[in-house]
Symmetry: C2
Subunit: 280 residues, 2 copies
Amino acid sequence: MKVGYLGPEGSFSYGVAAANFRQKDLQAFHTIFDCLEAVESGQLTKAVVPIENSYEGTVHDTLDFLYHQGSLYVEKEMVMPIHHCLAVHPEMAAQSTHLTGIYSHPQALSQTKRYLHEHHKKIPQTVVESTAKSAQYVALHGQKEAVAAICSEQAAELFGLSIIAREIEDSPDNQTRFWVVSKKKNLTSQKDLKKMSVCLTLTSDHPGTLHQSLAAFSWRNINLSKIESRPLKTQLGFYFFLLDIVIDCPISLIELAFEEIHLLNGRIKELGAYPIKIIK
Amino acid sequence: MKVGYLGPEGSFSYGVAAANFRQKDLQAFHTIFDCLEAVESGQLTKAVVPIENSYEGTVHDTLDFLYHQGSLYVEKEMVMPIHHCLAVHPEMAAQSTHLTGIYSHPQALSQTKRYLHEHHKKIPQTVVESTAKSAQYVALHGQKEAVAAICSEQAAELFGLSIIAREIEDSPDNQTRFWVVSKKKNLTSQKDLKKMSVCLTLTSDHPGTLHQSLAAFSWRNINLSKIESRPLKTQLGFYFFLLDIVIDCPISLIELAFEEIHLLNGRIKELGAYPIKIIK
């Protein structure tokens, strides 16, 4: 078995992947796109990718791939608390008040926006592919330049950096949902399936089309824990919707709602039904 | 009058601002946050900010500020076609097949993802605050390093760069909606108001709460051109919704729907009603 994740070692995706699979089966990828494409092509058995952060919202690269390119299914969701730290090269620890650059993944920069605005307002920010990559960069170049990484404490330790500020995320309840995806659909008879995610595309555009589709869930007392629109990438004003459906009723009832939506000219793309694991 | 925009000169926001206001009234800002905060504090009269791109979706910095921090109103929407080009320093034009780095704004990198994946897959990407800033960077550093900017042709010309590829955006219908915001609310009697945007927060969480709120619009035949959820930034699973309402009925009817939603324990924050101008 081969399991891909958004690398390098020390990334948050790595943390989730390592908690679920054997170290020797793991393989790091540079981008979410490349990682998911490797599952699609059969090069990987599974992939561990982020889908949503409590502060920054949906990870568009993941959702857009699953809707537009993929024929993949979610087999498990894992929710992990996210703590960021600011780390420098150990030889720069004394000059950490005079930083010349801050490196990180865009979502980490965004999740620490208020902290950076208050403490490092004028420092140029550079985006790299992952938080662990920023730690790696600082380990390699941080001896000469006073650059800092925003990454997990695990990554800072892995690359031998000095942590100059801990838990710098703006929201104390910062969490990220990760999905394990594969080409295999979970059997709907499994008792521990907690949620189902689907993409809904509406093919007509009269007032209340979305409302009508939601009615198919609402009158059956089926609860949606999330509804989000994303552009169809054709032109302004055309969207698909991600729906997260709570499974607290027979799945066949949910499937009847899909059937009804289909008859109303809505299109449902199933991303899968899955259990949820909370990582402490 | 002072009008802020996401600078520097040559940015797409600049293009929109310059088409609507006098050159001498314009002032460039480094970030959307700083620009909107300057209107909030009274330092600026208005600001021109992007709100949505047809390919990449909502500009979260703008929406999150208007929902969480702002007491600002949208007074006008402008829709502009977006074309990106790849530009290098004129002395590097001959070596443009051996780029060492590509600089741009995250949305521009995202809007040209497929092009970059096909033509410049392994080239490191660096994010800067705006597309024009990337052109400026290449003008300053592109003589020694083979770096390229993704920016408007206008910006490439402004900074004296050589364009090596035109219209590299993945979607041929790439458009961006810009909002002019100020502290003043448009009068609802204006005849040319085309759309109204509001943020809806649901205070209860039983199945169908959103469906119930949408019913207030649906049974009145009020059309929503967009509905999008964004995290409340508290914890996973809590959202507010951006609703774009088409004004093709008396505004008082829309206000009755708001009143009904309010009685159902929903909270509406009005972002304003506004005319729409399409820029060719």
